[in-house]
């Protein structure tokens, strides 16, 4: 496995494994993460995977940069791809797709020249992978979206996107765990809680997990504890 190791901070290294965003990167990134955790042990402070990289924050009171680099090189020997393992690495997320909670659904349908139902079907038609988490606690960048559905972000982000909103942008899709500003095209809403400080692991989604969206109606959404307050037009 070819990789580049860059110094990106006093106590931070960036491991660059790939150039392009591809789902096939994920097992290699997971495998590298496992090896790095083992090799660094208690000297590891944070390990942040993204589409093509792993950022590694180590404790420089225990390890200087040269020693940290050596550990990375050791960890990268005999690297094998690894799949997300264990309980709960595959998620089915029920989503109520509706213009009241997914105000961009009609516009995406018009933009793509298909019906709203076809947009929903396309969004639910495949398993997505969690490439990275960021932007907010528990916010997973999921992909890759059907190229037919790809649409740019909003020119002006909404000031207030409700928690549970499901959106798309370019070839990615995501769920907003908390109310926040946001520029993704909203299609619907889930009642599932994405982030919970009282849950083991805190975030429902972890790097490398798989997600499939399942369409439900308003009644089921409410039964699941969903909040059907419409997205405000001026939000």
């Amino acid at each position: 496995m070819n990789y580049r190791l860059e110094t990106v901070g006093l106590d931070v290294l960036l491991l660059r494994l790939f150039e392009k965003i591809e789902e096939a990167n994920i097992p290699w990134l997971l495998g590298a993460a496992t090896h790095l955790r083992r090799e660094f042990g208690t000297c590891l402070i944070d390990l942040v995977p993204s589409y093509t990289t792993l950022m590694l924050h180590y404790n420089m009171e225990q390890l200087d940069e040269r020693a940290a680099r050596q550990r990375v090189h050791r960890a990268m020997q005999d690297l094998q791809p690894q799949e997300a393992q264990g309980e709960g690495s595959r998620h089915e997320l029920p989503v109520w797709y509706d213009p009241s909670v997914g105000p961009d659904l009609p516009r995406i349908a018009t933009l793509k020249g298909i019906s709203e139902t076809a947009v929903i079907q396309a969004h639910c038609s495949r398993d997505y992978r969690v490439f990275a988490l960021g932007f907010a606690p528990g916010f997973g960048y999921l992909g890759l979206l059907d190229a037919e559905l790809a649409a740019p972000r909003l020119n002006t982000p909404r000031k207030r996107v409700p928690a549970g909103s499901v959106g798309i942008a370019e070839q990615q899709t995501a769920i907003y765990p908390l109310v926040s500003p946001g520029g993704w095209n909203l299609l619907g809403r889930t009642a599932t809680r994405l982030f919970d400080p009282d849950r083991d692991g805190y975030s429902l989604l972890q790097p490398g997990d798989s997600v499939r969206f399942v369409p439900i109606d308003r009644g089921e959404f409410i039964r699941q504890g969903g909040d059907d307050t419409p997205v405000k037009a001026d939000a």
Partner: protein, 319 residues
Amino acid sequence: MSGLLVEHTLGLAQLQDRGRFGVRHIGVTQGGALDWVAAHWANHLLGNSPDCAVMEIPLGGLTLRCEQDSTLAITGADLAATLDGIPVYAWQSFAVQRGQQLTFNPPLSGVRGYLAAPGGFAAPQVLGSRSTVGREKLGGFGGEGQPLRPGDRLEFAGDVRPLVRVPEALLPDYSRPAVLELLPGSRLAGFSGRSLFDAFNRPWQVDPRADRMGVRLRGPVLRYQGASLVSEGIPLGAIQVPPDGQPIILLNDRQTIGGYPCIGTLTPESVARLAQCPVGAYLTFRAIGVEQAQRQHLELLNQFGAPLMPYRVEHLSFR
């Protein structure tokens, strides 16, 4: 338990500790005291662990009522603090008596003051830290990311401690122009030659758009000519250049990943120094190599005498 009652606040003062570690892979930011050097000193003066929560007080405007006899310590910006109207010296611990009023005023130098109490301010550990992150609704007084509010009663272990001071030679001078040290990044070659010259030879001014997520700078426009980048983890102190060519230095409450090109990354000591640069202040950058920077950093840590505690790392396994 003894305590401090918040009587008046600008709404900016909040609890911070060293930060939240081992959870950045799930999108949770680092948090922690921006001027970690001053926060360390405040804890150190009271014999506290560096993991104890201190109060970060940007721009003053805070009045506290002491509800118990105790010992406190103030470091960081000069907020012209007074105890019942009488000036209190910063960078040393001082005794307070029940009923006294402790007031913080607009800064005479620096931006953020730090107040420590014996044993640290009590607050729930949320994802391994008491650091307040409003945007994430995590940590701080109450545990849900709130800044301090009038009526909040801050508790701490509360015993009286010996009065000690930071050695004169180690006191920072925030009124001097800041020279920030940066580790050059791998994207430097993507910037035009003119931009690189400007970045390291021209003064930069702190823009009003500065908060705990990042500080924007004003100066010559930096042109990045490389390819667009895939989002990757952002280290503390990264100097990003968005398309408008005006750098943003990313601080403790930054988003965890991002895709703008960086000219480099500040050392942690320079991040602490930047946290004391007010809006409108000028600063310059100086490049430094990682070996020298690590040596300097260990020397800085040695000033505190005892070795620092290992980081409290919360949850580093993915699944």
